[in-house]
Amino acid sequence: MSIAIALPTSGAEAVHTARRHVGDRVWKSVTWAAGITTILILGGVVAFLVIDGAPALSGTADTLPSHVSNIWRLTSPLLFGSAWSSAWALLFATPVGIGFALFVTQVAPRRLGTVLGSAIDLLAAVPSVVYGLWGLFVVAPVAARVYAWLSAHLGWIPLFSGTPSATGRTVLTASLVLAIMVLPMVATLSREVISLVPKTNIEAALALGSTRWQAIRLAVLPQAKSGIVAGALLALGRALGETMAVAMVLSPSLKISIGLINSQNPGTVAAFIAQNFPDASGLQINALLWLGLMLFVLTFVINSTARAVIRRQKV
């Protein structure tokens, strides 16, 4: 194959090159502008939270929400609650999402795969209020019965300690509802990147006599890994930031506890802000914004750690 190299030798080609330079300059400025705008947006949000949240550091029991003596008494249990419920949600959603994506792209008959793949996107669009109502009226009552059984038979495990909640509105229930909410993020993104794996790789593995699972493990998953992780991080972001559904389904308190089935559940930052902002006044508003900032810091730490781990694995 011969490769044609364009050299500006004549007038027409000089115009072409000039147009290319203009085009490239426009391209460069537009794309750089986009990247910088994104950073500015985040910078704006962070600046707002820092400026308006800092006054809360000097708060006392009279001025802070829930009459806590200082802001850290709010921050620790709520950050724990956000991290704890999101971790469980991700633990449920990531494997199921990957399995779902693999099913839709590799195992299912073509029609079923397309329909199911598109249908899971619909799950992402259900309003969080409806998830809250569903969690409250459908999931919690069933969960209450399961928790009663768990407490009676497996109550010695620290996760199942304490009196089981009669209403079923616990961290485990909230995590389950969150898991269903974030499942589409993992499933869709995984499905997209799995379908972008060159079919020749998979066919080669199958032609060499591997089973479908071996082909998936060898040809598909390594190529799709970064996309799956991206889906999981998007899911984590949604889970950490989910406000309405958690507010309706979880019975929060300000205690750090790992019990999954009793009613002493750590609240989450997002739900706490939503539930206290309407009636907040004065320094209480600043405290809520400080909590938002702390959640940001948590997200930042988790994401940086995930990146560091991935980078180390690539080498």
Binding site: S66, S165, A166, T167, G168, D279
Partner: protein
């Protein structure tokens, strides 16, 4: 082949979007076109001699008042077709902040402005520092429970406080049995249900418990339920109702209008049990006096949680409507005065009672006239 497929696909997509786009231009059949400039005073205005009002009135605040505000706005807009009244149920705190900053002309708030707030806040839309603050929404708050087969119980303040704070562990406790002879109480565990969000209802309930049962309830009047108490924390009135409905043995405090299907307790006041009812709620307000040290148009009440009237229902929520005593902008003054007058009028209070289950002010002539006088001072 390629081109045809992509063209027909694009056509399908365009058709789908166009179908959606139709919704963007549709008109609502229940919204009459804007009022014309001719003043047809016989059908439009509330009073025949005032020219038709027009404009937008932005109000906001307490979420508890939303159903009542729906009724007030509907009635007021029906009588004044040129006016749009908006009510943002953003919460009492956000409402008070909004009133101070000028984003709301009139607000609803579960807590009256405190003395500290009044001295340190400048009200942007007001010409003077005086406000008109009147109780406009009075609602009985019920102790609701879920015990299969039992629709009502009798409780006194101490027992109610013990149940809600988790001191009583099972329903067949002697304290409850003593007040309810003849009722077979099950041995189900008691699960208290309370609000997880900061709320004026919680404030009113804890105020009642601290004044009527001070030996049992030691937390005072708080708007966030104490976090070291056991039980289920639910979001909003509806969350509490859902939690109580969802499990047997639960007990919580709910606005009486939302207790359909739940068991409701009668509270013992001045020796006799009173079931939650609108008339009884107004009687409690009648037995209360406005706080001292405030301006003549600021009727923030010190609610009497232990009224001596044996037919008064003591656990009530009083929510206020606030406006400037004197507005900088006469247009705001006209709209605010007209709206507030409607809100506190017999017609308005009856409409609210119909939609929100509140207790009409008009049941008590003294309170009603005091409120009307204060509202008439808006200018």
């Amino acid at each position: 082949m390629k081109m045809r497929t992509s063209l027909s696909n694009a056509a399908k997509a365009a058709a789908t979007i166009a179908a959606l786009g139709l919704a963007l231009t549709a008109c609502a059949s229940n919204e009459a076109p804007a009022a014309t400039s001719t003043t047809d005073t016989t059908t439009a205005s509330v009073t025949a001699t005032v020219p038709a009002l027009s404009g937008t009135l932005n109000a906001g605040g307490s979420t508890a008042q939303t159903a009542a505000q729906d009724a007030w706005r509907a009635g007021f807009q029906a009588a004044n077709a040129g006016v749009t009244v908006n009510y943002d149920p953003v919460g009492s705190g956000a409402g008070r902040t909004g009133f101070a900053s000028g984003s709301y002309v009139v607000i609803g708030t579960d807590d009256a402005f405190s003395a500290t707030e009044l001295s340190s806040t400048t009200f942007t839309l007001c010409a003077t520092s005086d406000i008109v603050e009147v109780p406009a929404y009075i609602s009985p708050v019920a102790v609701a429970f879920n015990l299969p087969g039992i629709t009502s119980l009798i409780l006194d303040a101490n027992t109610a406080a013990s149940l809600l704070s988790g001191k009583i562990k099972t329903w067949n406790d002697p304290a409850i049995a003593a007040l309810n002879p003849g009722v077979t109480l099950p041995s189900t565990a008691v699960t208290p249900v309370f609000r997880s969000d900061k709320s004026g209802t919680t404030g009113n309930v804890t105020d009642y418990l601290s004044k009527a049962a001070p030996s049992v309830w030691t937390y005072g009047m708080v708007e966030n339920w104490p976090t070291d108490l056991t039980g289920d924390a639910a979001n909003g009135t509806q969350g509490v109702v859902a939690a109580i409905t969802g499990a047997a043995g639960t007990v919580g405090y709910v606005d009486f209008s939302q207790t359909t299907g739940l068991g409701v307790a009668s509270l013992i006041n001045a020796g006799s049990p009173v079931a939650p009812n609108a008339a009884g709620a107004t009687k409690t307000l009648s037995a209360s006096t406005p706080q001292t040290g405030r301006s003549a148009t600021d009727l923030a009440y010190d609610v009497n949680r232990t009224p001596s009237d044996p037919t008064a229902y003591p656990m009530i929520m009083v929510s206020y409507e606030v406006a400037c005593a004197q507005y900088k902008d006469p247009a705001n003054a006209a709209l605010a005065k007209a709206y507030m007058s409607y809100v506190v009028s017999t017609e308005g209070q009856t409409a609210a009672a119909g939609n929100a289950g509140s207790a009409p002010l008009s049941s008590d002539a003294t309170v009603a006239s005091a409120v009307a006088t204060a509202v008439a001072a808006i200018s």
